[in-house]
């Protein structure tokens, strides 16, 4: 399965079809969103960092939950995916540091989770499974042949998403 591994960086998105694996490393407060059309085995993984795109130039849509989801769906459709069949699995949104008197610092993960939920709903995409929140980082792998996700965290056994 590892023979065809495609790495997705931060504020990045990749699409593969049929076989192979998408992987994104060390999601902290960021969220990895797996989007999948099972009928044509089309798999996309987007690694977002922030909840809302308020940039003037909008140079990096994949950095944000709202534009990242929208743009990924658009690209999947150009590969032949049908929106009604696309399902989602998400992981991330942790709080890495507990800051006394915190301010907004610790809340980015939570705000990301809320924004991803809202935007998936808005786009009419069904959320099948999630592993979000908490205080540990996650590495997310996503198998294009099966639509199965795998999560690895420091000091924990691998779990299935």
């Amino acid at each position: 399965m590892n023979s065809n591994k495609v790495v997705v960086g931060i504020a990045d998105m990749k699409i593969i079809q049929g076989s192979g694996e998408l992987v994104t490393y060390a999601l902290g407060s960021c969220i990895g969103i797996c989007l999948y059309d099972p009928a044509i085995k089309l798999a996309a993984l987007v690694h977002i960092m922030l909840p809302l795109n308020m940039e003037t130039g909008r140079k990096s849509p994949m950095k944000y939950a709202d534009t990242g989801i929208r743009e990924t769906l658009k690209q999947m459709e150009s590969w032949g995916a049908k929106r009604i069949r696309i399902v989602a699995k998400i992981a991330g949104g942790a709080k890495m540091f507990e800051i006394p008197g915190g301010g907004s610092l610790g809340n980015i993960g939570q705000r990301n989770i809320e924004s991803v939920h809202l935007n998936l709903k808005r786009e009419g995409i069904r959320l099948l499974k999630e592993d979000v929140g908490g205080t540990v980082a996650r590495t997310l792998r996503f198998d294009a042949a099966t639509g199965q996700g795998y999560i690895h965290s420091y000091g924990k056994p691998e779990s299935i998403l």
Binding site: G28, F97, I99, A137
Partner: protein, 206 residues
């Protein structure tokens, strides 16, 4: 307002100079805390995109410790001191008299020692910056985490990710009695503060 990617040569050199002086101060503070002479080998100050910064620090999944403090006052931002294993073991040996093999062996005393080391280094760095610019800069209480370093250094990136795609990172090898302590500091002032800082130092080309 200038983003990191729009800085000219002089402005970048000034940031590098700040990085060197700050790290030099942090090394001196570390000397007195560990009770040994700490030498610093030529520090490297870089301004990088997210994914480049994660590769520079040694890859996303490598587990590390991080001490983070919020910068407040006339400039705002985040400072993060990344404590790699070699660093942790030299510090722990000097302060509590033992070493660890894995980060999950850290006990409460070890953690408070590492937080203190990180805090002293961050404070010394910020004091240097404050002295250079004659600005009042305060620091929040430090926070500590052990996890995959990609997720740890994404914290300062995410905080100002809406303003910039870049982060400033300082790397230096600190030598304490023949032992190398890799020192990695990430400084992420928000964009307004970056501009204010350069203006204060008289190098901002508007």
């Amino acid at each position: 307002m200038k983003d990191y990617s729009e800085l000219n040569g002089l402005e970048l050199d000034t940031l590098r100079e700040i990085g060197s002086i700050g790290t030099g101060n942090a090394a001196t503070a570390l000397s007195s805390m560990l009770g040994c002479t700490v030498h610093m080998e030529t520090p490297e100050v870089r301004i990088m995109g997210y994914n480049e910064a994660i590769e520079w620090i040694g890859g996303p999944e490598t587990v590390t410790a991080g001490v983070l403090a919020r910068v407040e006052g006339e400039i705002g931002g985040i400072m993060l001191a990344v404590q790699k294993m070699e660093f942790v073991n030299v510090a722990l040996q000097r302060m509590v008299g033992h070493q660890i093999g894995e980060y999950d062996q850290l006990d409460e005393l070890d953690i408070s020692a590492l937080v203190e080391v990180g805090n002293i280094m961050i404070s010394a760095f910020i004091n240097a910056l404050s002295g250079l610019t004659n600005m009042t800069i305060k620091l929040s209480v430090p926070a500590f985490a052990v996890d995959m370093q990609g997720a740890i250094i994404a914290v300062p990136m995410a905080e100002f990710g809406g303003q910039s795609d870049y982060i400033m990172a300082i790397g230096a090898e600190l030598i304490c009695e023949g032992h190398t302590m890799p020192c990695r500091i990430l400084l992420s002032p928000d964009i307004r503060s970056l501009n204010f800082l350069l203006k204060r130092l008289g190098v901002l080309d508007e």
